[in-house]
Structures are given as structure tokens and as C-alpha cells.
Symmetry: D2
């Protein structure tokens, strides 16, 4: 390579960069900056309860949420998703708004309601509730214990694309609720579709996937498959397409029996896991991470991992991932085994 005689300075001033000076253009496979990490319920709950004193819901902020920042990143739990806990105290409510990022809610403590496009949805521990892109949604706690759930949103992906739009509901109030509780489950959740109530959005028409149905389904599956080595899994699907619940994110639940180990795998998509029930640990990128009920943890892109259930009790392991994004462009890859 010859002397540059100021070449690189002139290049920089011209707002171009020489390809041969861009690091990583010939890296053979993904080397993500994100790291595996566990956020523990026991550590974060005191903090978010403290937040209830620091921040007045509706006055200081419309939402009281602590979002996990991957230690390898400036912001975001993975390159596409943020996860975190959200808290609504008894008597509080979070006013209605809508935004292009889509959100997954996995109920973890207490009970309450999320209202989505006029449909009130009662949330009990383990329920999966969707507030898809550009749907009006608010949250309400009319009970007498705090409600806490796990949030999962595709904000880093939507922000990267500069596709965020946001709108407050008129008057920053709660929205009206003309529909019956969990009406969407009755309407679209049984292999039946009502005429005259078309659903032409790309997300699932189901707002709620109740935990009881999920657990029953897993238990029966486990029995019918002869209690398979690595446990059993179900995918939450859009009943009008058989595809993922959101265009950008997929959800699943695995039942890993006590003492068992899940399959070792890695893939280009990134994943956030939350054990709804049971304790265990995961080997991620060769390192052990212990977790307990209601913790959540992240597995970065292309990183080998496997899960272990402790001897005491079966584990119900919820996961949300950005796999649909990779599949949309034929860039999803996965490997199994050793």
C-alpha cells in the first residue's frame, strides 16, 4: 500500500468512506455486540416500586416502565427489541395512546385490565396480551394489589427504520370500552370467524392468549408425545394466517419438565426469555446464567444456548423473538446440536 498524501483526509471531507477501511465487512459470521444477561425480579421490583414514588402516573409519565438495556449496548435489550417490567398501582391507570412499535405484555403479578381498541382484557398471571402496532391501548388497575407485567416491544427495530409514529388519545384519557371483556377471543379464537367483522390488519385478531389454555395445551402435548427429552413447545399464532402474532415478533411457550435440558441451538434472531413458572439456568455462549420465576434474560444473535430446569419443579418458559424479521428477508439461519 502506497503513501496516501492526504488521501484519507480528502475522502473524509467528501463524506465518503473507503470500503477497505470499514471494519467488519468481511467478518465470516455475526459477532454481536450484545451480551447474554439476566434481569432478576427480586432486584428490579424494589426499584420499580421506588419508581412509583418518584414518578406519578399520568402526571409525570404516561407509563411506568423500566426497560432493560443490554450491557453491550447504549440502549435496547437486543438490536430489535426492548423488554422490561411495567407497574400500575391500585387505583392508577395509564392513559390511551397508540404508536407504530408493537407491544407484547406477559402478566406476572396482580391483576388488572388492558384495553385495546375498545376491548377490555382482564390480565391474570401468565396471560399473554397484545397491543399491536398503531392500536389504541391503555392500562387500568381497579384492584387492590399492584399489577406488574413484562413488556416486549420492537422499538429498536422501528426506530432504526425511522418509522415511529405516535398519537395520544383525545384528551389523554382512557378510551371507551364498547366491547365485552376479551371479546376477540370469543370472536376469532375458536376456528370461527364472524361475518361483517373483518380483520385486515397484519397482526393477530386475538388480543389475549389465556395462560390456562396454554398450559392445558402443553400438558396434553407432553402426554401425547410421550414426555419427550427436551420438553414441548407451542407457538402462539395468528388464527387467520397460522403465522406469528405480530409481523415483527413471535411468541412461544416451552414446558421443560423438572431436571430436563432443552436442545442446544443458535440462530440469527435474538430472543428474550421469561420463566413464568419454575427455576433453572441456561448455558449461553458457554457461560452459566441462573434464573428464577419471573426473571427475564436475553440471548443474542447467533449465540449457542440451552436451558436447564431445576429438579424441584417443571419450568414454563415464555419467549419472544424477532424471528419474523429475519424470515421476511430469507436471512434466518439456525443450527442445532453440538
Amino acid at each position: 500500500m502506497s503513501e496516501d498524501n492526504g488521501f484519507y483526509d480528502r475522502v473524509k471531507q467528501a463524506h465518503v468512506v473507503p470500503l477497505w477501511r470499514v471494519p467488519g465487512t468481511d467478518s465470516p459470521e455475526p459477532d454481536p455486540i450484545e451480551v447474554p444477561y439476566v434481569w432478576h425480579w427480586n432486584e428490579l421490583i424494589p426499584l420499580i416500586e421506588e419508581a412509583a414514588e418518584v414518578v406519578d402516573l399520568g402526571t409525570d409519565s404516561d407509563r411506568r416502565a423500566l426497560n432493560a438495556t443490554n450491557p453491550g449496548r447504549a440502549w435496547g435489550t437486543t438490536q430489535t427489541m426492548i423488554a422490561g417490567y411495567q407497574l400500575v398501582m391500585p387505583g392508577e391507570s395509564a392513559p390511551a395512546h397508540r404508536h407504530t412499535p408493537a407491544a407484547i405484555r406477559l402478566m406476572l403479578s396482580g391483576s388488572g385490565q388492558t384495553v385495546v381498541e375498545g376491548e377490555p382484557v382482564t390480565m391474570e398471571r401468565g396471560d399473554l396480551v397484545l397491543t399491536p402496532a398503531w392500536t389504541w391501548h391503555d392500562h387500568r388497575n381497579d384492584g387492590d394489589v399492584p399489577m406488574v407485567w413484562l413488556d416486549g416491544l420492537d422499538v429498536p427495530f422501528i426506530k432504526h427504520l425511522h418509522a415511529q409514529f405516535y398519537e395520544d388519545f383525545e384528551g389523554k384519557q382512557l378510551q371507551p370500552t364498547p366491547l365485552a371483556d376479551s371479546a376477540s377471543v370469543e370472536r376469532f379464537g375458536q376456528g370461527l370467524v364472524p361475518r361483517g367483522l373483518a380483520h385486515d390488519r397484519p397482526h393477530s385478531p386475538l388480543t389475549k392468549y389465556p395462560i390456562g389454555t396454554t398450559v392445558d395445551s402443553l400438558e396434553r402435548l407432553r402426554e401425547s408425545m410421550g414426555d419427550p427429552e427436551h420438553g414441548v413447545s407451542i407457538d402462539y399464532v395468528n388464527p387467520l394466517t397460522g403465522g406469528p402474532v405480530m409481523p415483527t415478533m413471535a411468541c412461544a411457550m416451552t414446558l421443560l419438565p423438572a431436571g430436563r435440558t432443552g436442545e442446544r441451538t443458535r440462530h440469527t434472531s435474538s430472543t428474550i426469555f421469561c420463566p413464568v413458572r419454575g427455576d433453572g439456568y441456561s448455558i449461553i455462549g458457554g457461560e452459566r446464567f441462573d434464573w428464577s420465576e419471573r426473571d427475564f434474560f436475553v440471548v443474542p444473535t447467533w449465540t449457542w444456548y440451552e436451558h436447564h430446569a431445576c429438579d424441584g419443579s417443571d419450568v414454563l418458559l415464555f419467549e419472544m423473538s424477532d424471528r419474523p424479521v429475519y424470515e421476511a428477508f430469507d436471512i434466518y439461519r439456525e443450527e442445532h446440536g453440538a
Copy 2:
């Protein structure tokens, strides 16, 4: 037009036909040979009970069914479908076989089981059960009353295409039943899809659509829509596609409140209706046809019709149609109103 000098004879001998001698090539719209007609439960049940004496199930025939022949046709209820009653007496069974025509079963009397690809399905009055194309199926009556259901098959369509294949189960016996009763409903009927149990066939993975779910769904829909003038309808769908239950046939159920009249309409597809509950009459092609619970009747292609529910009770009106065939080729047309 000149003298033909034997032209038409020579043409015929050459196995060609002059286009201008083919009748109907310029008919402006469909003029079906089929006619509207009602087959009455009260008239046919004695006949099929008599058939139980004439034909010994398993010896004389593998199935005891009386299929409706449209009075305008040599064979077939419509140009694409046959419908009829099928009877299995207590203690009897119909051995397993499979065929490329697909079948719809709407249970009308007694109870019993249909087994589809190893899955036993208990059938109670009003349940919709599918035995899709090329699936092993048998029928069993272990109870003490006769079981009768409505059959609907796409035989005239498949036969027209010369696409019928048929196979007896080995030994012409009943098939084994490794699966739990109605396992498919648990597996695919809740917005959840089990991993490792792929369903890559073009029909619904649900073998059964229980009547209870259907009625609940209709009642709630009626309430939520403010009891609309023409009643409410649901489509039975494939929960992996949102499309019809079979590639060739669609099913639906309408709740028409007592004293109400459905919308007047016509379409290129042909339809077979069966009132599961309630009495009424239909105006089809300008003529009145009275029907009672468990009768079935046919509306030919492009024929105006509307249904009326008697004052006494709400009507649950089941329908099966060949509409997916028309939609597959963009030749479906419908009109509403006067």
C-alpha cells in the same frame, strides 16, 4: 346460410362440432339445470331405517347413505356436491377407507364416533366434523340409539375432473386410535400451534367444530351487533390460513332470529342448507319452500333466495357451498338486494 351439401355429416364424422351449432355459447348468464328442492327428514328417515334392513353394513356396503339427486340432474345434488343422510345403527361400524373427494359431516341425531387419521371424534347433534380429502376415516356407533348425520361431499366436482382415487384400509377394518378424543381441537383450536406436529395439508387441521362453541359465538355476536335485521353468521375457518375448511367447500352457520328474514342474494356458487334448529321457509327463484329442523335443501347457481324464520323459535341454519372453487379462478360473482 347456404345449403350444406352434407357438411354437417362430414363434420360429425371428423369428431368436431361447429361452434355455431353448440347451444348456449352466447347465453348471457348462468341458466342452471338444477332446481331448488327440499329433502324432508320426516320422509327420508323411514327410508334410511328401511335401508338398515335391506343393506347390512360392512357386508353389503361399507356405508349406508342416501344421497340427494337434484330433480334437474341425473346425479348429484348440485354440479359440485352431493348431500344426504347417513345412518349407523347401535353396535354397527363402517370400516376405514380414504378417497380424494372430501366430506363434511353435520351430526343430526344420536351420538357416536368418527375416527379421522387416528383421532376419534365424538359427535353430538350440531357438531361439524371433517373427513378431508385422502384422510383415513371410519364411523362407529357404540351407543344404543341410531346415529344419523348429514353428509356433504364434493364428488361431482372431483368426478368431473376424473380425480377420484380410493383406497380401503388394510383388511377393511377400523383403524387404530392412538390419539385422544378430538385431539386436533386441543392442538390447533386455540390460537396455539404445537411445534413438531406440522400440518402441511390444504384443509383445516381441526377435525371437529363443536356446536356449543358455534352457538355461543353466534349469540355473543348477535348481542354485540345489536341484533341485526338479517341475523348473524359465522364462517368455519382453517385456523392456519383463515380460509375455508376445505379447498373445495366452505361451511357457515347463521342465526336467524324468530320472525326475521335473511338478506336476498344470489351468487355463482351452489349451496346446500340444513336447519339444525328451528323451522321456516325460503323463497328460492320466486317459489316458496317450507322446511323444518334437520331437513336439507339446495339453492342452485345464480338463483335469487332469502330465508325466513318462523315466529316460534330462532333458526340455526347450517350451509355448505362450493364457493372456494369459484374464488380460486376469480369467477365468483354475487349480487344482493331487490
Copy 3:
């Protein structure tokens, strides 16, 4: 089986048929009534020229066509298609109309124009021209020799479904031609799609597939594949979907080098072949059928066949089939080899 005591008479009067008396319900595979048959150019051309004297185009008939009737059928070349020759004499024209049956035109002699939805398309020998379902079309011979082409229409299929609609162009005249000759080829035939000229119909936006392009493509394919044993084939496709040119019919061309034999095969779809160039014979259902340039012949459903090219010259063998109908319902089956 017991005495019937008039059972079968009563059954017949009730407009039902006992399933066990319906012939063919358990036939293991298709046994079509259609037979293989060749219609020879040399025999039919004198007949259709005679038709030009018998029938005055525009006065006695809007089209002068002789359609092949399969010797095994009352009407139709196969269960889904009719094929035949159509003749327009110098100075004649066939007025514009449209109908739900779709039509394929393979030019065989002379030259002239077909106009489709305002687009005039010059037809030379070997060109494939489409007049899809419900498109206005007329035919014109402004030259000084007769024009003859092979017609292929899905009339038996559409008629079976009672889905025929028909309309004469206003005044039964020729339509205006605002577009340039073969404008669709320029617009959609190059991997380029004009903005503002949407094509939302289910058929190909291309009205014409010129023979020169087809032959060039086959010759290059033959060369690049090292002159394969059974020749080379191309499918004519819809450049907006990669699928067949029409929802109900597919077209293809095979180059079978002199002295070669095509692969032995059978399938559920039915096929009509027309050698555009070259002579040969086919073994169909075990029987030999000789054919020459511009003859056409039919292979029924599920019948084994193979083609042979004579030693003298390469064969260009055009085919049209109803395969898309079978694929739409997952009832297409094919077998190869011995």
C-alpha cells in the same frame, strides 16, 4: 342382502340414491371416459374451408370454428377444455365480445390480428396469443391469405360450474384500438412494470408470446443443458406471478430433437398437444398415434404417454393443459418412468 319390497322404487321417488348403488364410488384410480385421439390438419382444413362457404362470418355466426369432440364424450375435447381450428378469411373480421371462459390462440397459418381490450396483436405462425376470461376480443384478417389458428378454451370446466357469462360488444362491432401493436409485451414483458398501469387480474398481463422468443429460448436452453436426452421445455408464465398464463390453463413448448423420445409420464390433468413444427408419433395408453405439423391430439387424465420425433427434423410441440385446476385443490398427481 334382503328382499327390497319396493325399497329402491321409493328411494328413487324421494329423489335420493343409495350410495351403494352409485357405480364407481370405490374405483381405486381415475378411469376416464375420454380417449386419446388425433385431429389432422389435412383432414380438417378442407372442412373448415367448406364452412367458409356454409357460414357467413358476422351474419350466420360470430366465430367460424370447428371444435374437437372427444370420441368418448358427447361434447368437449377433455373434461375441462375444447380445442379446434378457427378460420378468418381475407377481408373478414369476427366482432368483439367477451365471456367468462378463457381462450388460448396458437397461430398456425396466414397472419392477422386479434384485438384484446384495445390492444391489437399481430399474429404470425407459432405465436401464442391470450384472450383471457372476460376480456373484450375480436379477430381481423386484413391480409390476402386465410388465417387459421388453434383455439383452446376452458368451456367444459366453466360450463360444469355454471359460471358462463357472455356479452356482445356494443353494436356487435369491432372494438377501438387505442393501444400500439402488442403494447402489453413492451409494457410487461421485460422484467419492467409501468407505474400507473396496474394489472390486477389473475391472468398474465402479456397478450402475446412471440414464437421467435420461444424458439430462441429453447435453442439456448438445449445448448446450455448439453442437449438432454428428452429434449427441453419452457413454460409460458405470468410475469407478475411466475404462475400459469391463465388461472385455469397452462401452456408450454417442448423442443424434441429429431429422433428423440420424450419422458414417459402420466398425470391427473388432461392435455392437448399441437406440433407447431415437425412430425412424429406418440404412444398413448399403449397405442401409437402418428401426427404431423399442425395436427393436434389429446391425452386424457391419468393415461401413460410418450412422444417421439421423426428422424428428419426437430419437433416443436406446444401443449395446453388444465393442470392449474388440479393444483388449486391439491389433487394434482403425476408419475414418471416405466
Copy 4:
């Protein structure tokens, strides 16, 4: 809001961030960091020629390219794409490799060859050549003048997803070329698809879209549409789907007649434009940007813009955009007019 008593410090240490401290979560619409900018041919060509002295192709670098860095970003021309000029001197070649980012090549000066998966493709000025994701490709200049083209790659998008894989061709050499020049155009570019040469990748099977075809198509379109006010545009499409040439990027060409102004518009996708012929200027975000032949410029997300052609000559304006990414998730929005 109360005193925090060290709350925010503890939150930070716990690797979470309070949602109410994340800037921009309620921004009503996109406010991209990218800015409009023009990179001028006359300024960059001397620089890249200087690069030919600084960097020896094949020794110092496998590619000699200067990629545009948006002045609002640390790296990348937009949030999803990089664009830049690439130079291969006479007698030089760039060895074969493949990577998951996909690349668009618009030839701007000289001539030469790009080889893609064994297919050599001669490139002349204005030709669009594709080297899609994970296809082996190399570049060769066997002529006697330098070849320069515009590169467009989806590297920022693929990198954001950590989905980059990269592989050198064995021995870092040129690949063999068993296929004829531009074989893909002959094979898939005419509405014909060869049997036995399946293409099951998500990108266009066409490697090249020659400029001659594009210009002819635009000129005819302009004539047929009566020379419309805002010019005419064509989209380059995948002839097997009618969709964009790549899953992540779309290409188009606009013919804007001399003195004319294109429509004013904005959209969520980002776009890079390159005038292949003619001079003009664009109003982007209210500011005027002048450009000449072979410059390229960027319009960020959700920024109003319109193009103007100078009086002297018609403009051919090439564009590449990430619109397919937005459409895949139903987050594409566009507005027109004032």
C-alpha cells in the same frame, strides 16, 4: 416529580432505563438524523482514481469503493443502505466472494463484466446488474478504459440485524463461467421459464436489466400516456413474483422530460437517486440541491421532495429504496401533494 434519592443511579446500575427518560418515545412522527445530500461525480471520480494508486486491487483490498456517509450519520448513506462508486481499472479484477448483504450495480462509465453464480454479465452504461444476497460474484475489466459503477447495498440494515455472513471464493480467485453472457435474461426475461432450472431464491432470477430495454419502455409509456405532467416511471421487478428485485431493496427508473417537475411526495422509506442522463435539481426538505449526470443523492425518511429537469434535456433518474422493508411490516406510509 419527587426527589430521586439516587434512584436514577441505581436504575442505571441495574441495566435498565426508565421509559420516561428515553427521548423520542412520544415523537409524533419520524424525525430522521439523516440529511439530504448530493455526492458529485466530478468531485469523487478524482478521489477514486487516486484510490487506484493508493490501493492495489486484490492485494490491498478486494474491492475499490468509496461509500457515501450521510453527514448526519457516523456511517451509512441511509439507515438501511450504503451507496458509492466502485472502480476497476483496465486489466484489473476483483476476486469472487459472497455475503448476506445484497448489492445493486448501476453502470456509469466504461464497460466490463460482473460474474454472478457462474453467469458473466457484460455491463454498459445505464445497465442495472444485481448481485443478490449470498451469491458468488466478481468483477472484471478486460477493456482499456476504467469501469465505474454506482453501488447500492443494504449493509446498514443487515448489520443492524447482525445477520452478516461472508465467504471468500476458494483461493480468493475469479469463479468459473460455465454460462453464456447474460444467460439469465434469456432464460427468465421473456415471460418464459425453463423447466429443470428452478429458481427458488427470494430475489429476481434476472441478473441484468439492460438500459436499452428500460429506455424503450419509458419512451413508449410516455407516448401512450400522452406525455404526462410528472413524467413516467417503471419499476424493475422479479418476473417470478411481480415484486421488487431484492427482498430488501427496490429499483425504479423515471423519465422526467426537460423542464418538467415530478410529483411532490414523502414516505417512510429512504431513497438514493442517480441521474443516469440529464441535469436538474431537487427540492428536499425545503432546500434546493443541484445535480448533474452520474451524481447521486439521498432523500431521508419522511422528507418532502420533488425533482426538476433542466430545460436542455430529458432526465433519466434511477432510484433505489428500502421500501420493501417497510412494506413487509405494514409500516410503509406515503403522502402526496402540497
